[in-house]
C-alpha cells in the first residue's frame, strides 16, 4: 500500500482538482480530505456518509461565577490574554493550558473538553472516502488530520487497497506536517507565478525536512511560460522531477461548476495531462 499526498504551499493552485481526478483514475484506493478547515473534495466525490464521529480535542477554561472571588490571580498568568477583566474566558483565545485552573485559590476554574469537529467514513463511486469538518473557529486541525489518516490507513490495510490518496491543506504549518508525515510521495501542485514558486519552494523544504520524496506539477503552466521555466530549472537543481504541466483550460472551471472531475467531464487538454501525470506516478 502506498500513500500519496497532494500539497501546494500556496492555496488555490489546483490541489483538489488534481486529487479529484486521481480519485477517478486510480483503482483500488481510499481517498482522504485532509484540508479539514476548508474541505472541498466532497464537492467532486459526492459521498454518502456511512459513519459520523465526534472529534474531541483540547479544552477551554470555564470560570464558575459563584465560586470566583475576583482575586485576579488568573488574569496575569494567562499568556493568551484569554481571561478578561470581568472574569470571563474568551473562548477563541483560550488554548486550554489550564494554568488558570491550577493557579486559582478558590477552585473556581474548571476545564471542559472541546468538541472540535466531526469526521466521516463515506462511500463514493470512487471507493471509500474519509473526510472531516473542523468546528468553526476551532483549533487542533493537525490532530484531526492525524486521526483521519490513521482511520484511512486502517481501512486500506483491512481491504488490501493499493493506495491512500490524500488531498492536503495549503501552508506549511501543523495540518500540512500532519498530512505529510510518513507518506511515500508528496505531489506539489503549483502555478507559474512568483508566489507559486516562492510557496512551492518552502513546502518542498518542509517535505525534505521530514524526508518525504517529492514530485511537482505546474498547473496553468502556459499563463506564464517564463516562470514555468524558472520552476523547472529550480526542480532540476534540486533533483525533483516534474510530473507534469497542466495547461490553462476553461473546461476545468466548467467541470467544477458541474461538480465533476475533469477527467470524467470532457475530453480536454487539462484532462489529458492529468492522465499522463497519473500514469507517471503509479
Amino acid at each position: 500500500m502506498k500513500q500519496l499526498v497532494v500539497i501546494s504551499g500556496k492555496g488555490g493552485t489546483g490541489k483538489t482538482v488534481v486529487s479529484g481526478s486521481l480519485a477517478a483514475l486510480a483503482k483500488n484506493k481510499i481517498m482522504v480530505d485532509c484540508d479539514v478547515d476548508a474541505a472541498d473534495l466532497h464537492l467532486l466525490l459526492h459521498p454518502t456518509i456511512k459513519e459520523r464521529h465526534e472529534f474531541r480535542s483540547g479544552q477551554t477554561a470555564i470560570i464558575d461565577k459563584k465560586l470566583c472571588k475576583k482575586c485576579g490571580k488568573c488574569i496575569p498568568v494567562c499568556r493568551f490574554g484569554a481571561v478578561k477583566d470581568d472574569f470571563t474566558v474568551e473562548r477563541f483565545s483560550c488554548e486550554g493550558c489550564a494554568l488558570c485552573s491550577h493557579i486559582c485559590p478558590h477552585g473556581a476554574i474548571r476545564m471542559e473538553e472541546n468538541v472540535a469537529g466531526e469526521w466521516f467514513i463515506s462511500d463514493t463511486h470512487y471507493g471509500p472516502f474519509v473526510h472531516a469538518k473542523l468546528g468553526i473557529a476551532e483549533e487542533n486541525s493537525g490532530k484531526l488530520v492525524a486521526k483521519i489518516r490513521q482511520i484511512a490507513k486502517e481501512i486500506a490495510e483491512k481491504q488490501a487497497l493499493d493506495y491512500v490518496i490524500i488531498d492536503g491543506p495549503p501552508g506549511i504549518g501543523c495540518p500540512v506536517i500532519a498530512s505529510l508525515s510518513g507518506v511515500d510521495c508528496a505531489l506539489i501542485v503549483t502555478e507559474p507565478t512568483l508566489s507559486g514558486l516562492h510557496d512551492a519552494e518552502r513546502v518542498m523544504e518542509v517535505a525534505k525536512h521530514f524526508n518525504i520524496p517529492v514530485k511537482l506539477v505546474v498547473n496553468k503552466y502556459d499563463l506564464n511560460t517564463a516562470v514555468t521555466a524558472k520552476i523547472e530549472a529550480f526542480c532540476r537543481e534540486r533533483d525533483v522531477s516534474v510530473a507534469g504541466k497542466i495547461p490553462f483550460d476553461k473546461t476545468v472551471v466548467e467541470a467544477l461548476v458541474e461538480g465533476k472531475t475533469i477527467v470524467e467531464y470532457a475530453a480536454c487538454p487539462a484532462a489529458d495531462e492529468v492522465k499522463n501525470i497519473w500514469e507517471g506516478l503509479r
Binding site: 492555496g11 478547515d37 494554568l99 493557579i103 468553526i136 495549503p170 510557496d199 499563463l223 461548476v257
Partner: protein, 289 residues
C-alpha cells in the same frame, strides 16, 4: 481602522486585494500575517530596515534542582514533557518536546522545586520595512515549525494605530485565521464564483459571525463559474464590495509579481471605491448602534 483580508479557500486573491488596496490609499501600514506562506513582499518589494527573531518560551530544566516529582508532566496540557523517575542507582530524567509546547508557562510557574526556567526558541522572523510612504511588516515561519499563531500574534504587536492597517490573513477557518483577523474593525472576504469558493466562503462567514467582525465580500474572477455566490450573498444580506472580472492582464501581472494598479492605474479608483464601500458600511453600523 484595521481591515483584514481573508478567505476560506486559498488562492482566491487575498494578497491581490491587500496589496492593491494598500497601494491605492495613503497613510497605510500593511501587515502580511500569512506567515506560513507570506507573499505580499513579492509585490511590494519593501526595503527591510529591521529583522527581529520571533521566539516562544520553552522550558529548560535545571537537573541539579529537579527531583523528578512529575508535576510538570502532569500540568502540561500539550504532552510536551515526559518525566522518567529515578530508581535506585539511576538518575531520573526529563524530556522536553519543544514542538508540542505552546509556551503557556504552567510548568515553570508550578514546579515545586523552581527547577524550570524558560528559554527562547526561535520559530520564525519578523521583518519590518517600508516602501515609499507605506509601512510594511511580515512574519516568516521557520521550516518544520508547526505553530503559526504565536508568530502571527507577534507580527500584530507592530500594528500602528495612527495608520489605516491592512492585514493579509492566511487561508482557512482555524486558529491561524482567527489569530490574524481578531481585533479587526472590518474583514474583507475574497472568494471566487465556483462551488469550492462558495463552500469555503460559507465557512468563513460563520467564523466572522462568531467573532462578531463586520464583513463584506469581494468576488474575484467574477465572470467565471456560476452565480451562486451572488445569490448566497443576497440571501444572507452580505454586502458585495467589489467584483474583479477575470482578465489575462491581471493574471499575468500577478504572476510576475507586479500589482495591477502599477500596470493599469484605472484600477486605483476601483480599490479606492472598495475602501469607500468599507467605510460606508462601518459608518452605517456605528450610526445604528
Amino acid at each position: 481602522m484595521i481591515i483584514s483580508i481573508a478567505s476560506g479557500k486559498g488562492g482566491t486573491g487575498k494578497t491581490t486585494v491587500a496589496v492593491n488596496l494598500a497601494l491605492s490609499l495613503k497613510n497605510i501600514q500593511l501587515l502580511d500575517c500569512d506567515v506560513e506562506e507570506p507573499n505580499a513582499h513579492l509585490f511590494i518589494k519593501p526595503r527591510i530596515k529591521e529583522e527581529v527573531k520571533a521566539c516562544i518560551p520553552v522550558p529548560e530544566v535545571d537537573e541539579t534542582k529537579c527531583n523528578y516529582c512529575g508535576k510538570c508532566r502532569e500540568v502540561c496540557a500539550y504532552h510536551a514533557i515526559a518525566v522518567l523517575p529515578g530508581s535506585e542507582g539511576r538518575k531520573g530524567s526529563v524530556l522536553i518536546f519543544p514542538h508540542l509546547c505552546h509556551g503557556c508557562g504552567a510548568c515553570s510557574l508550578l514546579c515545586p522545586q523552581s527547577a524550570i526556567k524558560e528559554v527562547n526558541k526561535e520559530i520564525g522572523v519578523i521583518e519590518i520595512g517600508e516602501k515609499d510612504h507605506m509601512q510594511f511588516v511580515h512574519g516568516r515561519l521557520n521550516i518544520g515549525e508547526a505553530m503559526s499563531p504565536p508568530l502571527i500574534r507577534q507580527v500584530k504587536k507592530y500594528i500602528n494605530p495612527t495608520r489605516t492597517v491592512i492585514i493579509d490573513a492566511p487561508p482557512g477557518t482555524s486558529c491561524p485565521v482567527i489569530t490574524a483577523v481578531k481585533g479587526s474593525d472590518f474583514c474583507v472576504l475574497v472568494t471566487e464564483p465556483t462551488p469550492f469558493g462558495l463552500n469555503d466562503l460559507i465557512l468563513a462567514v460563520e467564523v466572522l459571525r462568531k467573532l462578531q467582525i463586520p464583513f463584506g465580500v469581494v468576488i474575484n474572477r467574477s465572470d467565471i463559474g456560476d452565480g451562486k455566490v451572488d445569490s448566497y450573498c443576497q440571501e444572507e444580506n452580505i454586502p458585495i464590495l467589489m467584483k474583479i472580472p477575470f482578465s489575462r492582464e491581471i493574471a499575468v501581472s500577478y504572476s510576475e509579481g507586479v500589482p495591477i494598479v502599477k500596470k493599469d492605474n484605472s484600477y486605483q479608483d476601483k480599490f479606492i471605491n472598495l475602501y469607500l464601500n468599507i467605510c460606508a458600511i462601518k459608518n452605517e453600523a456605528i450610526s445604528r448602534h
